[in-house]
Symmetry: D2
Subunit: 311 residues, 4 copies
């Protein structure tokens, strides 16, 4: 068993796509192969039901079945975090309890979009922690670009100080390098717990964020080995190597981070790599056209050459 | 049985609150008494799971039980519309099929917030209609202030023309008097179906909107009889009377439309009037304080005097 | 001379429209007659270049000429506040110094839309106060619906405490009754200066806001005498009378607060009342049609009858 | 003389920063050296007063002096486009006429944020074209991320068809590769004028966008030679070389595109390269700290090595 999530988490938690068959049914076989794919590539954890993917297109029953299948497929090899952000605390708690009983290691909670002041944000997480209870660890998702909520560093440290079940910050304040530096500084100066900080945004600032004190990444990218290798090179102090690897993948990572069509790009590559059977998305969706696929093929070709060169 | 929703719908469809007990459990007894309350006051229909209330705080199972109880409580006296807006068409269809099988008369669909261009909006509703199939009538919810999507009149008429299962527009473009006028003009000039237009915004522009061609209201206000009487006075041509009634309730209606605290005001008054047992809201929530309650009591006192004066 | 603005300001500061001739030139004659109109109706101050009107359509030279003309027309009878919100502190300071040298009593500053955290908001106003210097009093404009910035009460009191040139809060957090109550409570409990609080939103919550501790209104409405009379009835303790007057005007005030077309309604009524010569707006603009004008005429007729009744 | 802007414009139009002295005064000497810098690096045009930089921090007089100085400094070597977006058509026209009389080649206009429907957007540009008259060419700025307005391709082609003074589209729909493809397809299919399409977003998708039919870039990046070389390699059909150059600069370009602090990064590098004397920004501003500068130095070092390698 992988146990529950705690402040020591590091490495790469891959944010999983939701695989569908060509007929748009949830593809549980691909769910299993995808789990294997991510773990084989070196991911230390997995994250399900992220707020930016296709999770909201699932029915409640489909979500449950998808989570259950993914957790079982890990066979204890990697902890799974499940996104449980919801408009109400009752439904948040219900989903959290359900996924924890299925074997999840922790849950992730983004702030509702109407929160603004420091006190409002803190109070919300206070309610969340109280609702989840003392046995469910949670990840604070800091993603202003999507939630519209900017969480100041002093609010994050106030949460860390007051709420022991907050064990990780998913840092996605784009790119917010100085936010990581400031968080690490305040933790140290005030003798706080050092929480795990995993970064998002498709890893587009990963080596720079590691330098500032991040512990790894929690994001999607069809080549998770890029993130795994950057994090491990960084961990052993080989900063130049971390950047070499990063630079090799950056053109494609950038292409995959396109708003709107990015998820279609990611699924296309994952299907090509055999991680999932079909790149199908559920409606509403954006489809790749021939020009997009030509771009992707071209960028992967260059990426391969680059990687061969750096060895 | 009240049958399925069609273009002839008029009068007042009350948007129901979700009653909770003091301990924040869904209160099915109050659900039944609330249904009776609205029908006794003259409402011609009811609407459940609106996008602005506490519906998103319910678990899937609670939602279903609430809808089932409300529909059964109508005993065929009034059609029920259920909000089924969702991030994915699969979950939208699932919810729609479920509530229709429970006896709903139709469903209501608001556009997802990312839609912008005329074609995007039209295509979305085309997919909705296709997904729902030919036997589920739907209400187009036009509510830019909340959805962020502005639906031009020419897109509405294009939808009416192309999608026969769109039978009603819930007009909530604040207040958009000229939008109603323009819609009625285009319908007439182009020989289109005349759809039902029910207005929202707590009825704050109801008599003016009736003059422009609305058929009634679909909104919440703790005194639904105001809307019922305004619509019926208007229908019989007594415009002055419609305004007299409206003006009597306007100060309180305005107070109840306050962002943030408005729903707490509405539940407070509904509980005071015996429509529901408790004014409790689920967290996150805004609570009324003593000053708020003093305001409400004062405004209701003035409202009562005003109504006595006009007879 | 009316002197500079201070914490004792109360009554009604009318937010002036920008009058244009039929050919869309700035109408300085109407500027003068408008100033007389507002003062004759009992306004205690005037506000120019508000963020919601047509001020942004003026060239810099036209703005200056409009402000100069309006200030001269007051002949010291009423203080004038000028909106100077700007993307940069340099241009804010330039405009502020310019209008103060023309005889303005103070300036009004809304927060730039990107501010979020408590510290960001406070720091911005700290910079503003430093830039303006010790001799220019300013109004803190709290208008979340338009600026997107929510200013918590504790930030307002922090500003009051630290920045002595902040003498007034323009309260437009819709309607935010409890914000006024909380502000007054914190001022009292912490022994702070009691700043002037004038409310906005077209006066749609004026009597309720006065009860919570507001000192008057700073907003537009084509019948400023409504606000003047409500404030003075309230000041002498005749709350019922304040509400009677308010209720008489509420249907029209509500109509004038419509997003989009509201300013056209206001200018139409002001022109009809002789305050300005022409209701013309500069492009881009929304024009009233025959149905709108019929509505307005109807509502004014009812308003007149109501006022006759209450005497 | 560089003449007025037309559909043939291609290459790189550098969006200029606004240089300040250490004491935050507009630095006209640096304005001149910056113009030389950009032209020396191969830029074919320059753009002043963009909507994302520090132009809004200038007073009207400073803006004019800055524009005048920059235009004179070009000595006819490169056309200058000036951003004239404004809340009102009167002030837009005043600024446009002023800069054209100073020698600008054309103006750029972004849509006001409240526009939504296809007709609203088209009508706005129709008014703009009418207001500017037949002798002022304009650039349609399509930048949804900042303006909030999404302009569908069919609206762009409708504008191209109806408004002959629209000669260029600044494409900044992030990244919107398929929008360029669709625009070029519709132009060809409908026999429309082929307008110039220059791309933005710091050039982060430049080689891909060139492949889709862009004519160059109009954006800022402290190494304009990257964009110049990518465009010219592409123009001569050497796509691989275009990507080689692009990849060399991508890590820094990405770093410079950070929201919030990006402009400080750009000014820092431009000052280091001698294009301007000081990296000073006017308040409100974000300052670089030692860690940021270390990052930049590190990335420039890697960039230099990369460039040496590819020759």
């Amino acid at each position: 068993m992988s146990g529950t999530l705690n402040e020591k988490a590091r490495g790469v938690f891959a944010i999983c796509v939701t695989p569908f068959t060509d007929r748009e049914a949830v593809d549980l076989d691909s769910t299993r192969s995808m789990v294997d794919f991510y773990i084989d590539k070196g991911c230390t954890g997995l994250t399900l039901l992220g707020i930016m993917g296709e999770a909201p297109k699932l029915t409640a029953e489909e979500s449950r079945s998808f989570v259950k299948t993914a957790i079982e497929a890990t066979m204890g090899r990697a902890p799974i975090v499940v996104g449980v952000s919801s408009s109400g605390l009752a439904s948040l708690a219900e989903l959290a309890n359900d996924v924890m009983s299925l074997g999840a290691a922790g849950v992730m909670v983004a702030p509702p979009g109407h929160l603004r002041s420091d006190d409002q944000i803190f109070s919300y997480y206070e309610s969340v922690a109280e609702t989840l209870g003392s046995s469910i660890p949670f990840v604070l998702q800091d993603y202003p670009l999507v939630t519209g909520v900017q969480i100041p560093v002093q609010v994050i440290t106030r949460i860390i100080e007051a709420l022991p079940t907050c064990v990780m910050v998913k840092h996605e304040d784009w790119p917010g390098l100085n936010k990581i530096s400031a968080l690490r500084k305040r933790e140290a100066e005030n003798g706080l717990r050092r929480v795990s900080v995993l970064v998002g945004n498709g890893g587009l600032f990963l080596p720079d964020e590691m330098t500032r004190g991040a512990d790894g990444a929690m994001t999607g990218f069809a080549y998770p080995e890029m993130m795994v290798d950057v994090v491990s090179a960084h961990a052993r102090g080989d900063i130049a190597r971390a950047h070499d690897i990063f630079d090799a993948y950056l053109p494609l990572a950038r292409y995959e981070q396109q708003p709107g069509i990015g998820l279609a790009v990611r699924k296309h590559v994952l299907a090509q790599r055999g991680a999932i059977t079909s790149a199908t998305m559920r409606k509403p969706r954006q489809l790749l056209n021939a020009l997009d696929i030509k771009d992707i093929t071209f960028l992967i070709g260059r990426q391969t050459s680059y990687l061969e060169r750096i060895g």
